[in-house]
Structures are given as C-alpha cells and as structure tokens.
C-alpha cells in the first residue's frame, strides 16, 4: 500500500544530474539556463539540480562520449542509484553531431548506456528540454508501476 503510494508520487520529485560526456558546452549552457533563468522554470515539476551523482534520479547526458571520458562517464553512471532515467541532450549523443566520424568519439551513446529519452537539436531549445524532462518523468512512473525499475 505504502509502496504503491510512494511509487505514485516519486516521479514528482526528480533530481537532475548533468553528465558531460565531452560536449562542446553548448548543451550544458542550455541545460543550465532551463533551470537557472526564471523564465524557464523546471522547479515547478519538482526538479532540482544536484551536484552529486548519488542524489540523482534523471541523468542528463550531453556530448558525443569522447574516448578520453568514456570510462569515467560509465563509472559515474554506475554510481547513480536505481531507479534512474536517462535523457540524452543534443545531436551529439545520438549521432556524434558535428564530431561524427571522428576517431575520438564513441557515439551513439546507447552502445554503452541505455538511453530513455532523446532530445535532438544542436543545441536543443529549452522548451524541448523541458518536454524531454516531462517525458522522462512519465517513463519513470510507468516503470515504477510495472516494477521493472530495479537493478538489472
């Protein structure tokens, strides 16, 4: 009973964590403005940026996953407690974006990390990111109800 209740309300308190997998900073600036500039307020969805991966629920990944940071990114991803939802931000994680075909990038990211939501754009509009976060919340809620959110 109580578990059901918590499963229902948990997606109303998502804590965001920005994971930079070698992005050009364009996406990161866009992500930061979504929360920091009063005009685009994600706190109304209950979101909060957290500094530590241990506190995170929704992982916002930006950048094409360069070879240099690949192992570190995978390690940080493992440090995030279940249940977690991932959101890939920008064209880079999907295809490599402007870095496509470079020998230093390992995109697409979902060879390494399961990606739940993709927000394309270079960089994406803040509105698109907010919609992506809302979509991630829906996925999180569905998974909690189905009970498929535990550690695999």
């Amino acid at each position: 009973m109580l578990n059901k209740f918590i499963n229902k309300i948990a997606p109303r308190s998502p804590w965001l964590y920005r994971l930079n997998a070698g992005s050009c900073n364009g996406c990161d600036v866009e992500l930061a403005t979504v929360a920091l500039i009063p005009r685009y307020d994600v706190e109304r969805l209950g979101c909060k940026y957290c500094g530590s991966p241990r506190h995170a629920d929704i992982v916002l990944i930006s950048g094409p996953l360069t070879s240099r940071v690949r192992d570190k990114v995978l390690r940080v991803y493992d440090e995030i407690p279940h249940p977690k939802v991932t959101l890939a931000c920008g064209a880079c994680p999907i295809s490599g974006g402007v870095y496509r075909d470079s020998y230093t990038v390992n995109s697409p990211i979902d060879q390494y990390i399961p990606i739940d939501v993709v927000v394309p754009g270079c960089p994406p509009r803040p509105h698109a990111i907010i919609e992506g976060v809302a979509l991630a919340l829906e996925i999180w809620r569905k998974r909690l109800e189905e009970g498929t959110c535990s550690r695999s």
Partner: protein, 319 residues
C-alpha cells in the same frame, strides 16, 4: 512516572517528533516556494520537501567500499535524533514550558551543534576527498558561529538576571519576557538579536554561508556519498534543524503569546517562526551569493560576535 510520559510525549509527538517534522518540512516548502516567487518563477508545491523525502526512501543505498560503514550509517541517525531531542526541549511561549528537569539554556548549547557534528562524521566517514573538504569547512564555520551564539545566550541570561543555577533556566527567561515584554523591544538586546538573525543562515548554510555544502565547489560536501534512505534522514535533519534554530530565536527574544488560549498561541508561534524564517533564510538566500571560507569566518568574527558582545556588556553594566 508522569515526567516519563511527559518526556516521551515531548520526544515523539508534540514539540519534537511528529510536530517538528511536519513543521520543518512545511517551512522548507514555504522557503523554496518563496524563493521561486522572489525570482518570478512558479516554484514547486509547498509539500515538495515531503515528496523528496518519500522518494528517497525507495532509492538504492550505495556505500563506498572504502568508507567506514558503521560511522557512515550512524551519522544520519545521530543527527536526526539529536535535532528531534533539541526540538523536544525547546519551550514554546504560552503553550509548552519544556520537559521537567530539562529547561536549561546550557542543554541547548550542547544539543545545537549535534547536527553539525553528524555532518562532520558523515563527511569524514565517506572517505571521499570532497567529503573531507566539506568536513573541514563545516568545522571552521561552526567555530565561527558558536561565538555569537554563546555571547547572545549569555546576554539574554544576564539581562534576565537569574542567580545561581537558575541563571540559565529557560522558564525564567520566558517568564521574564511575559512580565517585562519581549526582549526584541529592549534596545540593549537588539544587537544580540541581529547577531542571532545572522546565526540562523550561518548554521543552516544558506545564502552567504552556504560554504560547507557548496554545490559547484565541493559538490554537496559531507552529503556527497549519501543516497537513498540515509540521505532522506539528512533531509529530515535539516528540516527539523530549521525549526529548532528559528524556535530558539523566538524563545529567546519574543516568546510572548496572544493571551490564554493554547491554540491561538500555537498559531501565533508558528506565524512568528514563519516570519523569522522568511527574513533570515529565504530573503537572505535569494539576495546573496556565497562567501569564501575565510571571508565567512571573518564575517562572524568581525561583525557578528561584536554585536552580541555589545549586548552582553551592556546587560552586565545595567544589571
């Protein structure tokens, strides 16, 4: 036997326990909402902190394998029980006089640093370099704000002018203010009141004094390695701590009720707490950045402590 029941009731239900938890989560929610409104955002709902805590209970608990597991798990328990005990001892003017045998300012002086201690243990037990940095920062800030706290305590005690072991009795302090009007209208005590107003953000780590848990620098400091239910306990601890420090200032400087009715007095007390929190935490947090560690330390040593000491000196001379 009655005092046993009284103490249990105080610990688990009324001034501590459920009441303090509910009030703390509510105050935190109002704080977040008010900051959002000050920044012209919509902001989260008022019950957002409660949602956060509930959500954390279903998260996985990760413990770093280099951490000292016992201390790592014990720190949040220690902190939460410490603040709940402090909340139980805190008297509410016109409603609750405190548990028999525990009405003493010195008890509060010993109990108030417990949450900071818990954070220090947490930071050092997590075996993370950022945790260690947070630990040392927490310690330095604590040393800085203890001084004005003690000086303000002494100033109030001297002004009330009890003798012997009654000097620090909380009921003396409250009775004195019931008869002579609240301390906040006493020109001598105003500097001490201002010092206590600055102590609140100092101990809560908000605004200028967000030094130990600075997110961009030491990524949440002592709380860095915590996740799941243990982090939820730290969240509850910080919520109850907010109630405790605000109630402390209310008890020392303006405990007066609005007449004999207990319920009216309770609402009035909550209103005072809310107003005090809005001034000392919310507006302060929304309108200031963060100081560097040594600047924060110097702020307390140079400006806040002298304010409290002025009150103490004046109270001594005029007693």
């Amino acid at each position: 036997m009655t005092s046993f029941f009284e103490a249990t009731f105080a610990m688990f239900i009324f001034p501590g326990g459920l009441f303090a938890l509910a009030a703390g989560l509510m105050l935190k929610g109002v704080d977040r909402k008010a900051v959002a409104r000050l920044q012209r955002r919509v902001g989260p709902p008022l019950y957002q902190p409660a949602l956060d805590v509930l959500k954390l209970t279903i998260k996985e608990t990760l413990i770093p394998h280099t951490a000292n597991e016992v201390a790592f798990k014990l720190a949040p328990v220690l902190g939460l029980s410490g603040v709940l005990l402090t909340a139980a001892v805190m008297p509410i003017g016109g409603v609750w006089n405190g548990v028999t045998g525990m009405k003493d300012l010195l008890v509060l002086l010993y109990l108030l640093p417990v949450p900071a201690m818990a954070l220090m243990i947490a930071g050092s037990a997590s075996s993370s370099p950022y945790g260690a940095l947070g630990f040392s920062r927490e310690m330095v800030v604590m040393f800085a704000y203890e001084m004005p706290l003690i000086a303000s305590f002494l100033a109030v005690a001297v002004r009330v002018g009890g003798t012997g072991s009654g000097m620090f009795a909380l009921d003396n302090i409250i009775n004195y203010q019931m008869q002579h009007g609240p301390m906040i209208f006493d020109p001598i005590m105003l500097p001490a009141f201002v010092a206590m107003l600055l102590f609140i953000p100092g101990t809560m780590g908000s605004g200028l004094f967000d030094i130990p848990e600075a997110e961009p620098e030491v990524i949440e400091g002592p709380l860095l390695e915590y996740s799941g239910p243990l982090l939820a306990m730290f969240q509850l601890m910080s919520a109850v701590k907010l109630v405790v420090v605000v109630e402390l200032v209310v008890a020392l400087f303006m405990p007066n009720g609005l007449g004999g009715n207990v319920l009216v007095n309770l609402v009035w007390h909550l209103f005072k707490c809310l107003a005090l929190m809005l001034v000392a935490v919310t507006v302060f947090r929304a309108s200031t950045g963060r100081l560097r560690l040594e600047q924060g330390f110097a702020f307390f040593v140079k400006y806040t402590s002298p304010l409290a000491l002025v009150s103490l000196g004046l109270a001594y001379m005029l007693r």
